[in-house]
Amino acid sequence: MQAELDSMSKKRSKAKKAASAGLWKTIVANRYLYLMLLPCLIFFAIFSYLPMAGLVMAFKEFRFNGGMFGGPWVGMRYFKLFFSYPDAAQLIANTFIVGFLKIIVYFPFPILLALMLNELRTKWFKSMTQTISYLPYFLSWVVVAAFTTKVLAPDDGIFNQFVAALGGDGSTFYMMDGHYFYLIMFLTYVWKNIGWGSIIYLASMASIDPTLYEAAEMDGASKWRKIWHITLPSIRPTIAILFILDIGSLLTTGYEQNWLLRTAGNSDFSDILDTYVLRVGMMQGQYGYGAAVGLLQGLVGLILVIVTNYLVKRFSKNESSLW
């Protein structure tokens, strides 16, 4: 019996050795590819994994002289403090709404643009439209927010003048009225990001086998049919993976846009967890408190990624999920 066990464990360790030798062999054989991967791994190690150690600050009192780990433990104090903050519920609700708009509602827009660009046959017009559509991506939010404010200014802003010319009131202060905030935020977000977001879908469409279209054409398929039955199914894995990756940041969609478009009048709608962390955590030096709120965002993001991945895996029959 013992001899059998020994021989089994020997076999297992041999197999392990062989596997590890195989892995090393693969790495050596593909060393240049792995070398190219190295900067990416270093990037994630430094900027994503290493900072995770800082999460400990959510449970410690931050001291200037003690660094991240030097202060005394405070348990769940910061979490209790956050949930006792009168605006906490509103901040969370706003964050969900902004995340929903930027991730769920926005999601089909770049796909639609990519589909439209893909159907263009005039080459110069296609490249020109593509370039123009993704140029705004390179503008800073500071610039976008400044001209949005100017365009929407009451009375003398271009938009209000246009409304007045059509016989409207022309004195609406859009930036100060919270009810317009999400619309302004969403439209500027789409305008700035749609072109850039469509590139990856266009690349994915370029790799579709043209014979599929030819065959469909011979069968008499219309343009719509080709889009529906060839293009969209072919880019489905890309769509699914991008969706899973995006959904993780539902609660962390960035502070810049909301911070810059915020006015006192729309603050009930524009204040989100990201801007709150910046204002209280960074600007007032309450790093522990900021880290606690950041940790909550991260946890919700992680749960959303896991759930979405599970759903995608189920519905796509293991074709398009992350793991």
Partner: protein
Amino acid sequence: MKKITHRLSFTLALMLIMVTILSACSSDTNDAASTVAADGRKSGENGFIANRDVTGRIFLEGDGAQLPDDQVNNPVAQKIKEKTGMTMNWQSSGAADGLQELTVALATGDLPDVIEAYLDHGGRPEMPVLLKAAREGMFTDLRPYLENTKVLKNYLDPDFLPRDTRENIMFRPDFDGKVYFIHMNIPAKNTTDADRIHYRGGMWIRADIAKALNVDPTSIKTQDDLFNLAMKIKAGNFKDNNGKPITVIGPRKWGGQVVSSLFKNYDFGNGTQFDVQDGKVKHVAETDYALKSIDFVQKLLKAGLLDKEAFNMDGVRAEEAYNNGSYAISPYMNIAPDSLTMFEKTKYLPMDQMYNYKGEDAIYEKAKSGSQVWAIPATTKNPEQIVQFADYLASKEGKALWNYGIEGEDYKINDKGQYIFTDKVLSILNNSPQDERNTIPYFWGSLLGKTDVNNNKDFGELIRGANSQPDRYKLYFELMNYGNPKYKYWDGYTAASYLSEVPDIEASLKPVLDSYKDVLVQAFFAKDMTEATKILDDYRAQLKAAGVEQYEQYLQQKYDKDPSSVVFYIDAFF
């Protein structure tokens, strides 16, 4: 064996690389420097301190532009180096938010030899961060070094400092006799009212419009007066410098913000949000004054008398509009030198003499003004050298150098003892004022040197350059004294400063107090007073939930024990 040697040499090489990298990363700014001057003077002899390059960092808002291009090789810095052996290099990122920068620098320990932060009184938002850093041992105790100074030792005299500086900033009881900050811009002993600059922070009106309507700005005392005047201005169809119709009331000159000077009759708890009503400490939102101010602003907005962007316009647009005379009334401006340049093009007059909520015809000012603080991080070596250097810059000789430049070349002293700029400097001031900093590094020197201030006594003029450019400064003094306002002075521990004494309440209450201005703006733009009242009611509920009653009780106890221990009404614009 070969393998072991190979590994050993590899490990050694790795260690060598690490040591090289680490030594390259370490700062050399704190190294003690040689204590013998080139001419043989030893430390302490005839003004020599040490051969040392000091690095400082400014945590003010966007002030780096006022530093000389070359902080070490300009003639004044060279002269100071000759005398003291020291050079001073201030770093500034020009960031818009000095407090955020300061917090990050303290958290990361990225601190130079000396730091300078904004802090005009102990109720400022910088105070809790600076206090926390001091309590956690981030700064050097400066007290032992003050004894050996000539000018800075005045700080040890209880009568020299304003009460707020003494009790709240520098000699706090919880510091156990240690001193971590030097509060700057403290007036010298025996200064009188004549040695005082009044900045007239408050409402201003375009001079030509006041004249055309035959209105005396000093006669505007009530909110009704202001409203009627605004209506008259609107009916007058006045134009700006480009011939376009004006808006009656605009934003602050530096950009949109709520300013209580616009509704001064209702400015309960000005600068602190708290005050005493019928013997009870209250937050402004708990009084009728909040609703009255909202009602007034709504009335202005509905009548089209106030620019809708008055509370959020960016500074560049606002300043451009004032340069063009596009607003008849500014809710807040003052006569800082940059405003003077603007007033030369479009003259405005102070209209800051409305009654305050107490019905007083008075302008409040701080009894003795302090402005910035400097501190030496605990990591700095030989801090006494920096204290000595600051003491030299604060001496009359030091002040003359950074205020007026090199004698004979940049200024001359006339027979009345007045310092007069030479034609060379006057030409710079008239033709390219932005280059003045390279000849006379005023801002650079003021950071450590502007204290124990009495310009009249030292240089024969209240404001630098007033005797050299009398015509220009005639306008300045005319505006400064316009309408002979009555002043009241405050000194002490403000209601806002006490918040950091009760950290449990501070954590929940501060964010709610900070949002008061936003709440006001929402109420200003509410569709009617019913909606505005609801907004205010919601805010009151938030205040209550955040512990405002406990804080009021805390202030009440202090106040009942000694009414002078809490200052509620200060000269802040809100």
